[in-house]
Subunit: 520 residues, 2 copies
């Protein structure tokens, strides 16, 4: 059985059982056994994380940045092993996806995080020289990251966005491996251990647990030694954990579900229908639709062009080979969602059933409803069908479409396609104002699947897309604020101030001094 990483040691888990991951390309179990940790493992990890947090007070920002960079370099050098492990556990293509896109992105995120930690500007220092009051964000304490199944590198509990943000903000991380890729996560933990040794960081800075019982998971989240949680995963499990954290006023940054509505205004389809079919299908089937920002709901106004668009999508969905899904559980849950939608009255235009054979796969699926159907039960028709399925809502009129938007839950993204000749411009404001209020990111004439690592990115949005619409999970430095607390220093003697708040600004951070932003 594989070992866990607790307090700097790889040691046998005090386990209550074991589990295995599945190779989704074959449907076969992978032989490696991973432990289900007991509370004893978790308890030790929490103690070590707390000790690491205290030890971090005497670690310089330069050392922290150097840890992140060393870890990034080790990942880069280990590319072949990581890609092989992740492909076996997730079925995601070795190239370009894992090796050429996701791994470089992961390395880049860690390096950007290092740079952000070094500069300090992420902490938004504010200085009122007249009142001698100074404030900035500071580390919050040990963070537990529950990573998702769909990005074994870029959102991995021990290498991805939440990890990079939490560490760069000065916090130890306990990684809870996603059960569909424990081997990949273990490899990251091994590289992180090496980086810890090389850079002399506290040994509890990075720890790894694979799985616990639900009860121990809840106990972990509620434990006073843990300061915050980053969670990306299923809505039900997330809400159960969130309730525990909420009760003790602990930040629980959750990404729970999103159908990512896309509105095609009439002029856009008239102007470039076939191109939009192509653009949509590429995005919709990318990674077998297993993106948090997958465009899962299309809204159109009925017309000949709308029909042609739908026919085009159906043709392409039928022609494309269904991609491999991440796990049996994704396949099963996709089947359930599609069944729920059809039972509620959606017409099945294509697909609708699992693919034969052992491989985890589901036929590319297109569902259709009218705007009236949507309005009759907006809740059920917003059921997320995570994977290669889409629901097309055909509205009678633009008014009906706008009414439909008013019933949308919070989403990560919302897209509006409109004609380039301005013929949709009069409709845009009504659509955009309803949509923008309900999404974290509004796009024009662009699919939502790409989530650039930009300081201006918002990978967030109103509930249930996330638990708080004021924060982003992607985009360094903004994502770091989640794992920080605001601390104000009132009349604190100059030599006792954190360097970010000292008059001399030794790190040349951007600071708001008496209302003016300056890095002097």
């Amino acid at each position: 059985m594989e070992t866990v990483l607790i307090n700097g040691s790889w040691r046998a888990s005090q386990s209550t059982g074991s589990f295995q991951a599945t190779n989704p390309t074959t449907g076969d179990l992978i032989s490696t056994l991973f432990p289900v940790s007991s509370w004893a493992d978790v308890d030790e990890a929490l103690d070590a994380a707390h000790a690491a947090f205290v030890a971090l007070r005497s670690v310089s920002v330069e050392q922290l940045a150097s840890f992140l960079e060393t870890f990034a370099d080790l990942i880069q050098a280990d590319k072949e092993t990581l890609v092989k492990l992740a492909h076996e556990e997730t079925g995601l293509p070795v190239t370009p996806r894992l090796g050429d896109v996701e791994l470089p992105r992961t390395v880049n995120q860690l390096k950007l995080a290092a740079e952000a930690a070094r500069s300090g500007s992420w902490a938004l220092p504010v200085i009122d020289t007249k009142a001698n009051i100074r404030a900035c964000y500071q580390s919050i304490g040990p963070v537990c990251v529950f990573g998702p199944n769909n990005f074994p590198f870029a959102f991995n509990s021990l290498a991805g966005g939440d990890f990079a943000a939490a560490i760069a903000a000065g916090n130890p991380v306990i990684g809870k491996a996603n059960s569909s890729h424990p081997g990949t996560t273990k490899r990251f933990a091994e590289l992180a251990s090496q980086a810890i040794e090389k850079t002399g960081m506290p040994k509890g800075l990075v720890q790894l647990i694979y799985r616990t019982s639900h009860a121990d998971g809840e106990r972990l989240v509620g434990d006073a030694r843990l300061a915050a949680i980053g969670y990306t995963g299923s809505r039900n499990a997330g809400l159960a954990l969130k309730a525990i954290a909420d009760k003790v006023g602990k930040p629980f940054y959750a990404e729970l579900s999103s159908v990512n509505p896309v509105v095609f205004l009439p002029g856009s389809l008239k102007e470039r229908g076939p191109a939009l079919v192509e653009e949509y299908v590429t995005s919709g089937l990318m990674g077998a639709g297993q993106f948090c920002t997958n465009p899962g709901m299309l809204l159109l106004v009925e017309s000949a062009e709308a029909n042609a668009f739908i026919d085009g999508v159906v043709t392409k969905y039928q022609a494309a080979a269904p991609g491999t899904l991440l796990s049996k559980s994704v396949e099963t849950s996709l089947g359930k969602s599609v069944e729920l939608l059809t039972k509620a009255g959606a017409s099945l235009l294509s697909g609708g059933s699992k693919q034969p054979g052992g491989r985890c796969a589901f036929a590319n699926t297109v569902l259709k409803i009218s705007g009236a159907q949507f309005l009759s039960d907006p809740h059920v028709f917003q059921t997320e069908a995570f994977g290669n399925a889409v629901l097309i809502v055909v509205c009678k009129s633009l008014d009906e479409l706008v009414s439909s938007l008013k019933h949308l839950e919070g989403n990560l993204t919302g897209c509006i396609y409109s004609a380039k000749d301005g013929s949709d411009d009069s409709m845009y404001p009504a659509v955009a104002s309803e949509l923008a209020h309900r999404v974290g990111r509004l796009l024009n004439d662009k699919m939502p699947t790409g989530v650039a690592v930009s300081p201006a990115m918002n990978h967030g949005g109103p509930f249930p897309a996330t638990g708080h619409a004021g924060f982003t999970a992607v985009g360094i430095p903004a994502s770091m604020i989640r794992f920080a607390k605001l601390t104000c220093f009132d009349a604190v003697r100059p030599e006792r101030l954190p360097d970010l708040l000292q008059d001399s600004n030794p790190r040349k951070a951007w600071r708001n001094v008496d209302g003016v932003w300056t890095n002097a």
Copy 2:
């Protein structure tokens, strides 16, 4: 019976009962009857708030700022009436407190909020020109403010800090009047109505309800038409409402309780003991101790100077006339807390009982425990005794004091007094690092009761001081972020961008453009 303000009309409440406020100076009921609203009132207010939120989309920032300024001017002009009403309902002194301090502060906050709305810099615009991704904070939707009893002006549901922040960020406000000063709150609503008419704002921008049943209050908080809540008040009521909001992922900004620990390091007492007695007592008894940031727990290391300090405090507490408390309910709850603390083993050095007569008042109270006692039950000894009572913790050693700090819950503030000659400097880091992690604001050689309205202020802190340690309730513009959502605009056509994100920067807001802060 007084009327409610719903959708721009002063009309009779569809009430389920009535209540009266008490004049705490005499203990007599004030004759005016205020309604307890039924769900019908709340439901109408929510509809009107939602309509106002939609209407606000076509209101200019200039108009919004002008509303805030007009309201501020009307308050200034109405000073005499407001001060008279508030004095009758709260017992707070007409001068200097209400007329010369709190009213000017309230007017100033509204004007600062107007200025912040106008500039737009509060929204922290971030622009990535290369990727053409742009983000900023935007209004979130209707906000309900539950104001506290202790600041009838500066934290009033319809004129105070939360109100100013929510409106300036572009949101309508439903004010739930604090039941101890409904008349004052009604007067603010009248002035706000006048300002709405004068500046042509949507009529549902500001609405007033006095009280509801607990069940209707919870229904209000959970209602989908409401976007966020600002709550300052009792811990139990706040936690019940917070649980409802958390369940639907809605921000609930709560200020719940805080004992505001003050550490006097040995050298400070040696150097200037008598002066510190004076400084502490002034702060501790200010407003009869009814400040959120009242220094309710003092931590000392045992010594002759510590004993002299305690004797000095007791003497002054006994000599000072007990101030009037805000209500019978404050008096009762203070009595209960003191009883709980003494039952747990605290020695009563002074006070401990309510004052005779009808006036709401309690003897100035000093309680003492040892560090060992604190460590034996840190939970019970952190019971907030809101009012003119203080708990002094006398530790055997600095180590014991630092251990005690490790058991502190989250607090709004934490103070450290140390000698000016440097003799305490070696002890400072251990004390400060434990304290700073657990408070929103760390002070040196200064009492916490003053909460300056500064952009660098943090009136916040870890749970249970507040519900999220990343936000402040005081300090414009920072407090506005609470009532906003982050929205990203990805490839949105230039003419469709909010003005804050347009290349031309028409409002000359401070923005982070490609990593550089600029207002060009």
